[in-house]
Subunit: 220 residues, 2 copies
DNA sequence: CACTGTCCGTGACTTTTGTCATAGAATGAA
DNA sequence: TTCATTCTATGACAAAAGTCACGGACAGTG
């Protein structure tokens, strides 16, 4: 994916003037990460505008005892860590590459700021973008506080593109997204299969009873 | 609290030009709520700018089976539901008055929009305000996903102003903020007392071992 | 093809949370 | 004061989630 393709796919830049995107393209550079390599740590200053070009990144928070909560998995065209970019604070999360040779396009914050001040209409797009994320966070919070693991896992399965798919991640990683541990994911998947709502062949899942899963995902 | 006092205390308006605040003051009206009365429901269009003048409001989400998660309790000077105000979407939460005669100052969204467009510098303040909320949400999410009830309750106690205080709410309400049920709050408070970290005399709590509570709040 | 590292599945528990039912405070209005 | 309502406390369980330990599948490497 080229820089310009990437910029066009980022929510708050897609309607930006051509010239703004061009300026950003010129002001940034590409960084390549090895698998597992950290892009930024929590509580460090914003690196600037970050957009995934190839590969994928996970954005997560760790707790004191090392358990991880994955907030997002970023694929090409996704911009990472907009919050500290916009408010100038530190990163509230950390991010690391999930795949070898993950390529990230980066515009350092000072350059980004000066381009932004040239195109103030981008401020509104930024606001909209934060708002979308905030709505997502509210849903996650509600699910964590009020729903069971089964419910959150059902939602995870329903979020997959098609009705039949191969689990794109390890149970460990799914657990970190759903907010539980490896073993519980394994058991809960088999439980959903026993209930007849999905079939589970190796790592391939077919959603058999979508309506039932949706009910579970909604909290019974 | 007067309208102007209230406007001055709202984060994203406190540095606004005098004239902007004056225009808002004129464009809005005051609404009085009875205890328990709903101000807005989830999934309804934004009512506009809302600022508590007297009394208090709770902002919450309900799940399918009626359990409640309280996201914020708004006191005088606090603006409610900024997210739908800024992005034009529906309310992601509902809000209702906690006290009799809660008074809310309201500027309908069209009027707010037109004032906002006259003072575009307010856009940045709005962005900052959303960013602050988003950081708070991320912390709540982490606590819900990775910490125990004991940990979240410890954090709740530590957030109180002084070391000795009377619980300002019922166990039911604390439970809805902490993400659990009434009985568990009762038991966990007594457990913390048994551990010697707090004392519990009626509804009065004294924090005895702040360091220990902080450790618990951080997730052990 | 053995060896290593990573991942999955599972039994056997333990701990944490949630539910139900019931008995007493506490509060406030009549 | 008396009564009704609202809260709190608690026992007895039930259910959900987490921990530990181990066996086995599988992929990649030398």
């Amino acid at each position: 994916m080229t820089r310009d393709d990437a910029l066009r796919r980022v929510g708050f830049l897609k309607d930006a003037p051509e010239a703004a995107r061009l300026a950003l393209t010129k002001a940034g550079h590409v960084q390549t990460l090895r698998e597992g390599e950290l892009l930024f740590l929590e509580a460090t200053p914003s690196l600037g505008l970050l957009i995934v070009l190839e590969g994928s990144l996970k954005e997560s928070k760790l707790d004191a005892r090392g358990r991880e909560l994955i907030l997002a998995i970023h694929k090409p065209g996704s911009s990472v860590a907009e919050l500290p970019l916009f408010d100038g604070g530190n990163h509230p999360t950390q991010a690391s590459a999930l795949t070898e040779n993950t390529r990230v396009f980066r515009v350092p914050r000072p350059a980004f700021e000066s381009i932004l001040s040239t195109y103030p209409e981008l401020g509104w797009a930024a606001l909209r973008s934060l708002a979308i994320q905030q709505r997502k966070l509210l849903e996650m919070l509600k699910a964590q506080a009020l729903h069971t693991v089964r419910s959150r896992l059902a939602a995870y399965l329903l979020a997959q593109k098609s009705a039949t798919f191969s689990l794109p991640e390890t149970n460990e990683s799914i657990a970190a997204q759903v907010g539980t541990v490896r073993e519980v994911i394994s058991r809960t998947l088999h439980q959903l299969a026993d209930l007849g709502y999905i079939t589970l062949t190796g790592r391939t899942i077919a959603i058999v009873n979508r309506a039932a899963l949706e009910k579970i995902a909604a909290g019974e």
